[in-house]
């Protein structure tokens, strides 16, 4: 349709920028980042930014060295916090997926549970933290309970909707093949819901990190959250930032890890996954024959 003589520019969306272009862009990104850092550093040195509240990049770098190697005090807190995250996430998401499946498969339960789900959805769930601490006391128990609570919801809702949104024609196919309830669940409903469930798990793991922080802010005993709190109280902002950037790195790791897991479990959603598994199954078949 180039008849008009005015060929519109295609949306600048180069499918595969060349290697040299990519290198140049990376250099640009780094350049911009460095400029920002230098601005910040000089701004602080010239007294435009109060270094007490807005630590210099150089100070943050030094604090990284301090908390990780010289004092090496962050390791213990990280260990504590991540242990709690793992425990709470596992328990909360298992509970969420299980209940989601039960509720999704049972219209009657669903109907009567719906108002409570709406109420729960509107409540900032993390706000239950003080209540749980009051009820269960200080310590790991109440922290895990808080993480479980914030982790529960996303897998629950996603499993519920995944299980409910199996295409009707596929259900009909299974019915026409006289599949049992269990077969339908195992071979159709669960695999069909897997991508949605995985998305819920990803949200849950991120929420778990927030959950442990809030629990530690309130309890102020140990863990990365209380460390940030203590550093800030002592106006050691550089170290507080070192802790926060640590969380950024962990958050990024979680993000990438969950993405990998998703590609592995829900392989059929991605082209490379399909090709990989397809080749593997063909090979397995050839070996058998």
């Amino acid at each position: 349709m180039a008849m008009s003589g005015r060929i519109a520019p295609s949306q600048a969306n180069p499918a595969q920028p060349g290697a040299s272009l990519r290198l140049r862009r990376l250099a640009n990104h780094l350049g911009l980042f460095l400029v920002l850092l230098v601005l910040w550093e000089t701004g602080s040195r010239l007294g435009w930014l109060d270094p007490l509240f807005y630590p210099r990049p150089s100070a943050i770098l030094r604090s990284f060295w301090l908390v990780y190697f010289e004092n090496a005090n962050i390791w213990w807190h990280l260990y504590v916090s991540l242990g709690l995250v793992l425990a709470g996430f596992t328990a909360g998401s298992i509970l969420g997926v299980g209940l989601g499946a039960v509720v999704g498969l049972n219209p009657l339960v669903r109907r009567y549970l719906q108002p409570y789900v709406i109420v729960l959805e509107a409540t900032p769930r993390i706000a239950v933290a003080p209540l749980l601490i009051a009820a269960l006391g200080f310590g790991a128990q109440s922290k895990i309970a808080i993480i479980m609570l914030v982790c529960f919801f996303a897998p629950f809702i996603n499993t519920l909707s995944g299980v409910m949104n199996v295409p009707a024609e596929k259900l009909e196919l299974f019915r026409s093949l006289r599949a049992t309830k269990w077969q339908t669940l195992r071979k159709l409903v669960l695999p069909d819901a897997v991508p949605v469930i995985m998305a819920g798990e990803r949200l849950a793991l991120t929420a778990a990190l927030s959950g442990v922080l809030v629990a530690e802010f309130i309890q102020r005993d140990q863990g990365i959250g209380s460390l940030i709190l203590v550093y800030t109280r002592n106006l050691n902002m550089a170290s507080a930032f070192a802790c926060i950037f640590t969380l950024t790195i962990i958050g990024f790791g979680i993000f990438k890890g969950m993405e990998l897991l998703d590609r592995w479990i829900a392989f059929w959603k991605h082209q490379d996954g399909r090709e990989r598994v397809s080749a593997a199954r063909a090979r397995a078949h050839a070996e058998e024959a």
Binding site: E169, F174, S176, L177, R178, W268, Q271, R274, R281, A282
Partner: protein, 263 residues
């Protein structure tokens, strides 16, 4: 005429395998009559098409025969017994390929076997043969998302045959495909069901397609959905695309069209 009748004679002698006994189906507490007193006899090995505008109850009739829904009155009778639920001698294929995206073609074809017991080596061999039959030998280990729409329907066809059912119900199976692919698949379908000697009920809203494929065309009209006329198609077999240009074919098409137009 005599030649055609001679051709039709032995088929008429074949025993009835699918019959409708004044089947009525209503929806929404009786306010919608999807199917009004449908009665018919389909002999063994016949190819029957249901043709009519959308909403005239074609899918409803098919699902009643498949035992997926129960009639409000009357009964569908298969092999002399009333249909009360899905059964192993009936298999169904839908407009959407309804393949499971996480299974390869081969695994999709094996699904019916898997649901009714364990999969043996012989089952796998048979599934591969069927994939070969539908022309997908090289795609046995491809996932549905790696196949075109036409190829997906071929997998669905192979899965239909893997059930081993002798009554095949197809609900606009190639309706979403382009004309060329559809014509091609129709020819393949005729060859395959002929080879298997299956009794076939085929839903379409394309008059020419219905006549081309069938021994009998059930012309259905809407509001309320009913079988307005049963047209015998006495064209010789095997059918060729060129037959669509003959006066006999056109006369049959005219007959069907008139029934639909008269409403």
């Amino acid at each position: 005429m005599t030649a055609a009748q001679a051709d039709a004679e032995p088929r008429r002698a074949a025993p009835t395998v699918v019959a409708g006994d004044a089947i009525v189906k209503t929806f929404a507490n009786g306010s919608v009559t999807a199917l009004d007193r449908a009665s018919f006899d389909i002999p063994k090995g016949a190819f029957v098409s249901l043709v009519g505008p959308s909403g005239c109850g074609k899918s409803t009739l098919l699902r009643l025969i498949a035992g997926l829904i129960a009639p409000s009155q009357g009964a569908a009778i298969v092999h002399g017994r009333e249909v009360t639920g899905p059964r192993p001698d009936i298999a169904m294929m839908f407009q959407k390929a309804t393949l499971l995206e996480w299974r390869t073609s081969l695994e999709n074809v094996l699904l019916p076997t898997e649901l009714s017991g364990t999969v043996t080596k012989a089952d796998r061999a048979r599934a591969l043969d069927l994939l070969n039959l539908v022309g997908l030998k090289d795609f046995a280990f491809a996932f549905p998302a790696q196949l075109s729409g036409g190829m997906q329907q071929r997998v669905a066809l192979a899965r239909l045959l893997q059930t081993g059912a002798d009554i095949l119900l197809l609900d606009e199976p190639f309706g979403a495909l382009d004309e060329f692919t559809r014509e091609h698949l129709n020819l393949e379908l005729l060859r395959i069901v002929g080879e298997f000697g299956a009794t076939t009920i085929f839903v379409t809203h394309n008059i020419n397609e219905a006549i081309f494929l069938s021994d009998q065309v059930f012309v259905m009209t809407p509001r309320p959905g009913k079988i307005a006329k049963i047209v015998d198609i006495n064209l010789p077999r095997p059918r060729t695309l060129a037959m669509q240009l003959t006066p006999e074919f056109n006369a049959l098409a005219e007959d069907v069209r008139a029934t639909l137009g008269a409403l």
